[in-house]
Amino acid sequence: MAILLVTVFGKSLSAKSAANDNRIPIVFWHEMGGPSEDALEQVVDGFNKSQTKYKVIPKYQGTYDEAIQKILQTHGTSTSPAVFQAFDISTAQMIHSGYTTPVQNFIDQDNYDVSKISSVARAFYSNGGKQQAMPFNTSQPVLYYNASLLKKYGITPPPVSPSYSDITRVAKQLYEKSDHKVKGMTVQVYGWFLEQALANAGAQLANNNDGHTGNPTEVKINNPDTVEFLNWIKENIKSDDFIDYGSGASAGANQTAGFLSDKVGIFIQSSASIGQLTKNNTNKLGITYFPHPDNKKANGVAIGGAALWISNDKPKDVQRGAFEFIKYSLKPEVQAQWQKSTGYLALNKDSQKTKILKDLYAKNPESKVPGEQLAKAKPNYSNSGILMEGMQLTRQLEEVAMETVYNGGDINHALDTADKAINDNLHQSNRANGYK
């Protein structure tokens, strides 16, 4: 009885407050935790203040992975969001779900100029020539090194777009010259990095051009470029200049701690970590592009992060409001401030001209590097992400393969095992979904 009363009472209360605010509520689900959540709420506040018609209500949903299931399972109910943030590897799932309205529809209606928005980022979330979702928080993997330590031991820093052997050289020198006190390098066990190594080598993981020209039916991780990437790591493991921090969130935290406390000199991480690495670092931070195979030019890496999607289970005006919010979030100043507060890259090309970013670069010149890497890459099928369902599981299997190699396993065998498991899953998933 009491519960019933509270429910009734609570309902009437919320109805009242809604009546005071005549704006159309736009429920926004996101997965930004910590400092990024504050920055995101700033964006939302900015939008709400600029608006008389719509009001965005942000709601935090936990991790990317879990949020996907919530979005899919609540679709069509009153709790589902009008606009939501879904991460890179769920793109195929979202497109196939049929639960979203492609942002292309609104772009066409508004004649919105998307050419200002980073093309590599856009390419990741488009399919069949249509922009499905709008990239929002975007990062790229980059390589960080401890410039102060390199200087201390008189080691020539790596070039801005280094090859595998450039990094190996620095890592080995650092390990030897520091009298084995500092490990040369680490690469976190993270499927994203393996995928980016392939992208940067211009290779593809799934057939049908990584899914951009049709639903993938076959995956092949065991290709020469993966082998070369893993061999690079293995060589460093053998020379003992490599330290393994494992996989998962704690591994990320541990390797950052190790880097900041001079235990390891080089690591690969998302550009979004840059804020953390400059703020708490007594050493000078060095940044390069993601390393590429020795005999190839860098093809450029795909983006990571997430995009904003519009649900199609909400009325027209709500969907319209969602797109207004998306447009606002991509304004040059908003993106510039976003990059400054979070480390995610500003996607609007005009953001680079803003005072916010100019000041930032003047203070920390190295923070320019990730943006340059993004700007330099020309989108092609290899560096536009993998449009395939079941990427979460695929990544887990990639990570198992990486761990196997890190622990001394045979590269070909590990990759074959992963291929078999990924393909089994892919075939079953295609069968379950009725894809050809």
Binding site: L72, Y245, G246, A251, G390, V400, N425, G434
Partner: protein
């Protein structure tokens, strides 16, 4: 039975009244039964029977991206799982974990409880220390141990640095990670186990030990021949709780290893969670859930058989 015996005792006139009352109850038996049983049946149906049957149902299909059942495959999911080396390794990893956690928790708990049951000055401090993990949440424990295991700045790493030993990769080597998770779980379990066992040991009548002292039994002999048999019901209880807890271990795994490296700590429960809520493969995770249910049911059965036969004296 009870009713007739009451009516036999009461005098004649009252019998009639009693019987009438009894009949009225009888006539309304179904009504009362449904009133009393209804709510719990409803709750059980909604939250236990329906989900269980639904899980069983889903496990006979393939599910698509949206989690809907699409293609009926019969027992295919089961056949696939049972023949998948990946799943079998999960099973053996789980069993290894459950056995190691239970054996270590109970034996270390017993050792500490036995030490702390000695009547020595200042023993109260140790009793408090040993039981302190009862008040520690999984999250706090996980963070605490992650700090300890950190290969660059962790306690173990610093120790080996001072002693000039090679750093052990606690969380990145498959065997070590398993031990890391086992150690953490045992550490978490110890407080509760210790307290329960201490209580049991202290309630063993002291004259039993005095009698044994007089008869010349060594303290080792007394421990194995008196303490252990006397607290065997408690030992059994603690083991059961630990086994079931270990099978359900989730929080620590999620926070410390996420099932890695190379699935070395991918216990069944964690696997079910990951397959459903990360990969969205509800058919697979339903199948795994059913298999886990069968395994746990099997263990429960064994334990009850054992309970009836062995432990009660």
């Amino acid at each position: 039975m009870l009713k007739t015996s009451t009516t036999n005792v009461v005098p004649e006139k009252k019998v009639e009244a009693k019987q009438r009352q009894g009949f009225r109850l009888n006539a309304n038996d179904k009504y009362y039964a449904s009133i009393f049983l209804g709510p719990s049946l409803l709750v059980l149906t909604l939250f236990v029977f329906y989900p269980m049957l639904k899980t069983l149902y889903i496990s006979l299909f393939l599910t698509n991206t949206l989690g809907n059942t699409t293609v009926f495959t019969g027992l295919d999911n089961y056949v696939k799982l049972i023949s998948s080396p990946d799943f079998l390794s999960s099973m053996s990893v789980t069993l290894l974990y459950v056995v190691a956690v239970t054996v270590l928790t109970v034996s270390v708990g017993l050792l500490l409880a036995n030490l702390a049951s000695q009547k020595l000055p200042g023993i109260g401090i140790f009793r408090t220390l040993y039981s302190v993990t009862m008040g520690v949440s999984v999250a706090v424990a996980a963070i605490f141990w992650l700090f300890i295991f950190n290969p660059s700045t962790g306690f173990f790493a610093l120790m080996s640095g001072w002693l000039n030993l090679p750093v052990v990769n606690w969380l990145t080597s498959p065997t070590n990670a398993m031990w890391a998770v086992i150690i953490t779980t045992v550490w978490m379990n110890l407080g509760f186990t210790f307290l329960i066992l201490l209580g049991a040991i202290q309630s063993v009548p002291s004259t039993l030990y005095e009698a044994a002292d007089v008869e010349g039994a060594s303290s080792r002999y007394q421990f194995f021949k008196i303490t252990i048999p006397m607290i065997s019901p408690t030992l059994f209880f603690v083991s059961t709780i630990t086994i079931i807890g270990a099978f359900k271990s989730f929080g620590l795994i999620d926070l410390i290893t996420k099932g890695g490296p190379t699935n070395a700590t991918n216990m069944l429960v964690y696997r079910i969670y990951k397959d459903a809520f990360y990969s969205g493969n509800y058919a697979k995770s339903s199948t795994e859930a059913i298999i886990l249910t069968v395994i746990i049911a099997f263990f429960t059965l064994i334990q009850f058989k054992f309970l009836e036969k062995k432990v009660n004296y």
